[in-house]
Symmetry: C2
């Protein structure tokens, strides 16, 4: 952010009076521009023992596999966002959504919420952002070609929970890649 979205004046980065961290604020009109984490919603769409994965047609991670997921829109409920993303990316209809896993990805300001859901029919097709969409069993998951750490964690947790026969709601943390490599 370089300019005030309210008046167009160049902003400054400093701790506003009464605040405790630097914000972009406008010395001309006084507006303080907060930066908030963004919410990503997605779905594990289940059909018997298989789930729906999409291969990305766009950067980043073009060609790698992911769950249908994307930014929650303003004015939309969490579940409605997951239904919309599943439709947009996989051309698939889901129902009976159950909140399942959340993840903090604090270093990039993202909060993920993944639902489990029932895939209503095997009639699906890649949307504009997907190269292909497939229903995959655990044995077929391309573990070495998953697009994002948060999706890998989700899938690992899901298949572990499925073996245990219970899917408890939980919140996890995704750390920067350097932290993963360090241990």
């Amino acid at each position: 952010m370089k300019f005030c979205s309210a008046c167009g004046h160049p902003v400054q980065l400093a701790v506003p009076p009464g605040d405790d961290r630097p914000r972009h604020f406008c010395p001309a009109c006084g507006a303080v521009h907060y930066e908030n984490p963004r919410v990503v919603v997605g779905a594990i769409a289940e059909r018997e023992d298989r789930i729906l994965l999409c291969r990305r047609a766009i950067e980043p991670r073009l060609g790698l596999w992911t769950l249908p997921a994307g930014y929650l829109e303003s004015g939309e409920t969490l579940a409605a966002g997951a239904v919309r993303e599943t439709w947009e990316e996989a051309g698939a209809r889901i129902a009976e959504l159950t909140p399942y896993l959340m993840f903090n990805i604090a270093h990039i300001g993202q909060i993920y919420l993944l639902f489990r859901a029932r895939l209503l029919e095997e009639d699906f097709a890649p949307g504009r952002e997907s190269l292909e969409v497939r229903l995959l069993s655990e044995e077929e998951i391309p573990w070495g070609r998953i697009a994002f750490p948060v999706i890998g964690e989700t899938l690992k947790t899901y298949f572990r929970d499925r073996r245990r026969g219970a899917f408890p709601f939980a919140i996890g943390d995704i750390l920067p890649a350097a932290a993963w490599e360090a241990g």
Copy 2:
């Protein structure tokens, strides 16, 4: 939003190519400015059969009662945000946070996440945004003077769940006041 935060040029509101809803975008530099829902995190801080409530020292709803809660900051985990807000508003330290209730407040673009947590000590004091902070039993809750519908719903659900002896994670919807009155 009236001006582009990247280049300072006046923005336009229209559906960008390949998109499906109006966005503020900049005809000069091409930046698209997405508006995303904001996440509010808060806590039900428990001490035996009592919980911590704050009376608001600021607008809106000055003088009414609420749970410690506020906007999640960028770079912060959900639980860390709830701990911080409880410290800032109630001068209280909490631990053992369990995710409990989420709420869509779609008409104002907010997502709430309330944790249950253990209040570590009875040493607390109102922060800058609170007039007073009290530990209240169910009988003492000022039901007619709760600041926000989402807080009233949270408290109702909490005491109902407590009587049932289980606190299942759930997502609810808070509708506009007009819908409440009509329904």
